[in-house]
Symmetry: C2
Subunit: 364 residues, 2 copies
């Protein structure tokens, strides 16, 4: 475990530049005094902020760069223009060079994924990175992945996602054996999306010591919090995440309308406004911790582009936990489990026979 | 346009049997006095209810059957045990025999789809049926399909879904040219899920007179109500629908907790309880109108399994509108548009060249 946790920050990502990020870094450092920062950004914008936040300045090294990736740059553009020199690239590269333990950016997701993948490369045995999000649910939080790093997944990749998500859950939620479910649909006849069924058989047979595979879960299980880790390929995961965000905003707008419609409701609002404000905070995507690129040789945290100070502070704290407990090593160890390899090999060898035998395999 | 609208009802579907369905039918008939019902169910359970609701009894024919499909029957079981004789089958068959204009059931979705497909058969030119749902959003309502009748879709099927959803929107929302979007993900690099892009090119080139194709939409557009019709294949649609239901329930549970946490909040709740009750109703999936199987030679409406009187009444009113304006004929006419056929043929002929030319095709 490192003495200090070294966190590289891209200060130019995000819709509002370094403005909310430096105060966010200050809040995080108050709570985790063993953080050291490596900051990347435009001197003229960053320096005045550092002067206002000496608690950040005094425990940071600052690296000036004029190049910033824009929120609407396409990944290919960002890579062409920002490689080797943008604040985003330099923060990621610090992880690669082992000058930082983890990188954090509020920048554009596609660009961040492209750069992180190009710079850090997928870890041995993993084909493609995944984006994992911490999803608030009725019981607390769960991890959902992949929410859009890649589209499509075969059975092997789905089991990689399960193992990576579970490793993250052990660290972030501090549970020994997280519950893991594969996202599927409820209509029996079409439960048979083969890569998902096959991944389910592999996970059941591998019977891994560091995760508890519970079977298929459905869309509403995500909000209910039935499992700690929900595994799905990136297209479905991205749609599910954005649909949930849209629904939360929609309900909030219903609530605003309902609370102003009648005099009685308006009076009620006055009394209940703190409770309603707290609820609004809870549903505000800017205030959730951020998401994590998994499956690379180094961890990169994506904070929300419209994040505020508190949101960015919690993204940094997430980065801190992940670095402190060496997520990359934990994932690597889990992925090299002989049980997993055996279950995968058996599944490949058995083929359609196993598929038939398990056709009635039911969700826990 | 028929003199009366003849609605066949499976009274044994749903979690609570005929209990909420007959009062629901009574409410719907008060609002739409030109309905006639054809009712299917177990005499011993239905008759006492009909005696209590003469407004239903006097405008219905009742057909006894002892066979009922259970909520947990698998589609194949339901088809084996319930074909020719269950209340669900008989209601669907009434549509096939042109004894009814539309069928309504609160029964198990998978069984209903299997029976409806088996009995009514896909309409000419449509490979597979789709399940369309009316989705409340911040501006009103939109239609989302397919929410789980079938998994996977090629470009041609996605354009079928667009045309069928738009036909339904014209009837249900009474708009001339509904806005139609294809559900996709926002990260540019992976916007290239080929069937979706190809369907987009076809719809743009067909430039149909009865729908306005606006391009790709994302998960959060569903709740925002950016378009009238959201088109997606069944796996993603089903996950999105259930995720949204889960999120709405989750927010409601946050709200309950927030409104009872402090004395002030509890006082506020007393004043605002009617507004909050109205909000809860709006978010209650039992009270939405139900979903529609499209693409068959006849329309079948699926009401929520845990529906109540008002929910079932609105499912019947949806069935009424759909039958009165001959949805099947409207779909058939749209599907046989020469522009659509030409765009499809051109897309097939052009192949990868067109794909490249449109690679930068952007969302409206």
């Amino acid at each position: 475990m490192p003495q200090t946790v070294r966190i590289a920050i891209d200060l130019m990502g995000g819709d509002n530049g370094p403005e909310p990020l430096v105060p966010g870094a200050s809040i995080a450092r108050e709570r985790r005094p063993d953080i050291r920062y490596m900051l990347y950004g435009r001197e003229s914008e960053v320096m005045p902020l550092l002067d206002r936040y000496p608690s950040v300045r005094d425990f940071s090294t600052f690296h000036h760069t004029d190049v910033a990736v824009k929120m609407d740059d396409k990944p290919s553009q960002a890579l062409r223009a920002g490689r080797w020199k943008s604040s985003m690239w330099l923060a990621i590269e610090a992880v690669k060079k082992n000058e930082a333990d983890v990188a954090v950016s509020a920048g554009n997701t596609g660009a961040l994924m492209a750069m992180a993948t190009f710079c850090l490369r997928p870890m041995a045995g993993v084909d493609r990175p995944a984006l994992a999000v911490i999803w608030p649910n009725a019981r607390g939080e769960s991890i959902v992945l992949d929410v859009g790093a890649n589209i499509g997944a075969d059975a092997k990749h789905l089991t990689d996602l399960a193992v990576m998500g579970a490793a993250m859950a052990r660290i972030v939620f501090d549970v020994d054996k997280p519950l893991v479910g594969l996202l599927n649909v409820g209509v029996e006849e079409i439960k048979g999306l083969e890569p998902i069924r096959k991944a389910g058989r592999m996970l059941r047979e591998a019977n891994l010591s560091d995760l508890e595979y519970v079977g298929f879960v459905e869309g509403d299980d995500v909000g209910l919090g039935s499992v700690d880790v929900v595994v799905t390929e990136g297209f479905t995961g991205n749609v599910a995440l954005k649909t949930a965000e849209g629904t939360a905003r929609q309900v909030a707008s219903y609530m605003r309308a309902a609370m102003s419609r009648t005099l009685m409701a308006r009076i009620g609002y006055i009394f209940a406004r703190h409770a309603i404000g707290a609820l609004r905070d809870k549903m505000d995507p800017r205030k959730v911790n951020g998401s994590v690129f998994l499956g690379l040789n180094g961890v990169v945290i994506k904070s929300h582009g419209r994040t505020n100070e508190l949101g960015f502070a919690s993204a940094i704290e997430l980065a801190y936990d992940i670095a402190r407990y060496n997520l990359v090593d934990v994932i690597q160890a889990s992925l090299s489990s002989p049980q997993l390899a055996a279950a995968r090999a058996a599944s490949e060898a058995a083929g359609p026979r196993a598929a038939r035998a398990h056709a009635e395999d039911k969700t826990a």
